[in-house]
C-alpha cells in the first residue's frame, strides 16, 4: 500500500452532507425534533485509495456510508461522482443513470448472515447481480464469477451451496466476491470485520489489502477499530457526533493527531506496544445525544481544551499545524494540544 495517491481529482465528492431523521412523539406522531445524524460532512474520495472512517457508535459513520451508496437521500448537501467525464451529481438519478452509478459503487455490510438470501445458492446470488447489470451471456457471467471467487480464495464448487453452509468469514468473502464480480470503482465496507474472530478478521483484512493493491479500486472502510482503520486505510476520517473532526494520513497516527477527540480516542485504545508512550487525553462523560447536540463544536461539552468560541461557533476543517496538506482538523485551538 505504498502507492502514492494522487490527491488531485476526486473520484467521489461529498459536500456538506446532512441527514436529519425526524423524531416523532405524542398520539399524533407529530414531529417534535430532529436527530442530526450527519451535520455537514465534506469528504473527497480519490481513485485507488482506501479511506477509513472511524468513530464511536452513533457518530454517523454508518449513515455516511449509506449516503455515499445513495441508499438513502441526504437531507442536504451534494454528492458527485466522476463517471469518467468529471464530477456529476448522483442524487435523484433516473433508472438508467442509477444503475450505472450502482455498477461503480458497491456496498458490503457488517452482517454476512443477513446480506445473502438464505434460500438462494450463493452462486445464483452473485449471478443475479450480473444479470441486473445487463450481462446477457451466461458463459461470460460464469467466467466473471469464477474470477471474483479466485480473488477471494473461494473454491468455485462452493457456489452450489447455500449461505448457511458457510462460516462468517467465508460468507464475508462471498459478499466481497459478489461486489467484485461487477468490477466496481468504489466499495463501501461498513464494519465488515467487526463480527469476526481476530484470526478470521486478519484473513479478511489481508484479502482486502491485496485486492486493493491488485485492482486499484477505492474503498471506504468504516470501522470502530482505530488500529484496523490505520492498518487498512491510506487516510483516516475521524467522526464525532455527525461531523468529520479530523482527516489525516494513516501514517500520521498515532503521533501526529491534532484534534483533542482523536487524541482521546487513541489514548482509550488499549495497545501493547504503546503503553505509556501515547499522548493521553482521558475523556469524562459520554457522547451527547444527537437530538440536542451542542451548538458550536460538537465536542465542546467533553473537550478539556474548550474555549468560549467553541460553544458558539462551529469549527470547519482547516489545514493542520503539521503543514501536511492532506491533514485537516476542525478545531479552534491555535496550537496543537499536548505539544505535538
Amino acid at each position: 500500500m505504498s502507492r502514492e495517491i494522487a490527491l488531485t481529482e476526486p473520484l467521489y465528492q461529498a459536500k456538506g452532507i446532512k441527514k436529519y431523521f425526524p423524531v416523532t412523539g405524542g398520539v399524533l406522531r407529530r414531529k417534535i425534533g430532529e436527530v442530526k445524524a450527519l451535520d455537514g460532512v465534506d469528504l473527497d474520495i480519490y481513485r485507488g485509495e482506501t479511506i477509513s472512517v472511524i468513530g464511536e457508535s452513533g457518530c454517523g459513520k454508518t449513515t455516511l456510508g449509506r449516503m455515499l451508496a445513495v441508499l438513502q437521500k441526504p437531507t442536504g448537501g451534494e454528492l458527485s461522482f466522476d463517471f469518467g467525464d468529471g464530477l456529476k451529481n448522483v442524487v435523484g438519478l433516473n433508472r438508467t443513470e442509477e444503475l450505472a452509478f450502482r455498477r461503480r459503487v458497491q456496498m458490503i455490510f457488517q452482517d454476512p448472515y443477513t446480506s445473502f438470501n438464505p434460500r438462494q445458492r450463493v452462486g445464483a446470488a452473485i449471478d443475479e447481480v450480473l444479470q441486473v447489470h445487463g450481462m446477457k451471456d451466461p458463459e461470460e457471467r460464469f467466467s466473471r464469477i469464477k474470477e471474483s471467487c479466485e480473488m477471494v480464495n473461494m473454491r468455485v464448487e462452493y457456489l452450489q451451496r447455500y449461505p448457511h453452509e458457510f462460516s462468517g468469514g467465508q460468507r464475508q468473502r462471498l459478499a466481497i466476491a459478489r461486489c467484485l464480480a461487477i468490477k466496481p470503482e468504489l466499495i463501501i465496507a461498513d464494519e465488515i470485520v467487526s463480527a469476526l474472530d481476530v484470526s478470521i478478521q486478519a484473513q479478511i483484512i489481508n484479502l482486502l489489502r491485496q485486492i486493493q493493491r491488485e485492482t486499484g479500486l477505492s474503498f471506504v472502510f468504516i470501522t470502530h477499530d482505530v488500529a484496523v482503520a490505520r492498518y487498512v486505510g491510506h487516510r483516516i476520517a475521524v467522526m464525532y457526533l455527525g461531523s468529520v473532526v479530523e482527516i489525516l494520513p494513516a501514517g500520521a497516527l498515532p503521533q501526529n493527531a491534532e484534534h483533542p477527540y482523536t487524541i482521546a480516542l487513541l489514548s482509550a485504545v488499549p495497545d501493547m506496544n504503546l503503553q505509556g508512550k501515547k499522548k493521553e487525553i482521558v475523556l469524562q462523560g459520554e457522547v451527547p445525544s444527537p437530538i440536542d447536540a451542542p451548538s458550536g463544536c460538537a465536542f465542546s461539552t467533553r473537550c478539556p481544551y474548550v474555549m468560549d468560541i467553541c460553544k458558539i461557533a462551529r469549527p470547519v476543517l482547516r489545514l493542520a499545524y503539521d503543514t501536511d496538506p492532506s491533514h485537516q482538523v476542525a478545531c479552534h485551538l491555535e496550537k496543537p494540544p499536548i505539544g505535538a
Binding site: V198, A202, R230, Y231, M272, L274
Partner: protein, 336 residues
Amino acid sequence: MKDVNVSFTVESSNLHILRDVSLQVPRGSFLCIVGESGCGKSVTAQAIVQLLPDNGRVDSGLISYYESGKATELNKLEKFGREMRSFRGAKIGMIFQDTLSSLNPAHRVGRQVAESLLQHQNLSKDEAKERVIELFRKLGIPDPERRFNAYPHEFSGGMRQRVMIAIATICEPDLVIADEPTTALDVTIQAQIMTLLKNLQKSAQRTFILITHNMALVSEVADHVAVMYLGRVVEYGSVDQVLRSPRHPYTQALLQSVPSLDADKSVELKTVDGQTPSPAEVTKGCEFAERCLFASDTCKDRVIPLMTFEGNHQVRCIRLDEKGNLPKPDKAGSNV
C-alpha cells in the same frame, strides 16, 4: 482465599466443552482468560459460580475456594442451596456483558442493586439505599440519588455497566468475575470502565477474573493470563511471559493477527489457516494441530501435557525445546 484451583470437565449433550481446565488465582491478583468465541472462556466462569445452562454439568474435577486457610469445594455444593447462594453475590461477584438482559427492565435499578445487600447482610432498607447511593457515587454515576429510582432503559450502555458493577461489588466480594464487561461499549467508555475495575481491584485487594477476547486490553490490566483454545488452557503465565514472549503457536498467531496502533503497514498480518473446529469433531491430540504450522504427527496422536518453563510459564505444546523455543515451521505460512 489463597488459591482457587479449578479443574473440571463439562459435558453438555455429549459435547466436551472444557477439557481438564486448571487455573489458580492467587488472592488479590488479576487474572485474564482470553480466547476466541467458542473456546470455553465464558463456560469456565459459569462453572465457577455454578451458573451453567441447564444442559451443562461439571463431570469431574474440583473447584475450590480458599478462605482463611479453609477450602470449600464449590462444585460439591448444591446448585441453588443456601451455602452456594452465600458465595454467589456475597463472596463472588459476577459482571456480564449484556447489561440489558441481565438487569430486570421492570424494576428500578437501585432496588436491584440493594437486593443482594438485603439478601446477604442484615441491613434495613434505608441503610441499604444509603450504601447503594454511596457506591453509585464512587462508580461515577452522576446524580446518584435520582438515578437510584431510574429504570435500566433510562441508562446508557456505559452507565448500565456501572450499575452491573455496583450489583457485583455492593457486598464487597473477595472475588469478582467479569465476563466481557466492555465488549459492547465504545473504546472511550471501555477505558473508563476498565480504570474503574482496576481501581476496585487494587483499592480493596480483591481478586479479579476478567474474561475477554481483546489481547491488548489484557496487557493493560492483568497480572496473569490464561489463553484458551477449544476448551483447553493452552498457555498460562504472567502478562510479560504470555504477551511479550508467547510460546504456544496459537498465542503467537493470536497476537500477530491484530494490528497494533504503530503496526508496520507494509507487513501482512499473520493469519491462522482454516477456522476453529467444532467441539464435536475434536481429535485425541492437540486441538490446534490442524491449523498449526509446527504440528508433527505426534501432535495429533496423544493428549498434550502442560509443560512448565522458567517462572511457572505453562504451555501446552510438545514442539517446544527445553528452552521453550519452537522449531522452524514445517509448512510454509500462507497469507490468506
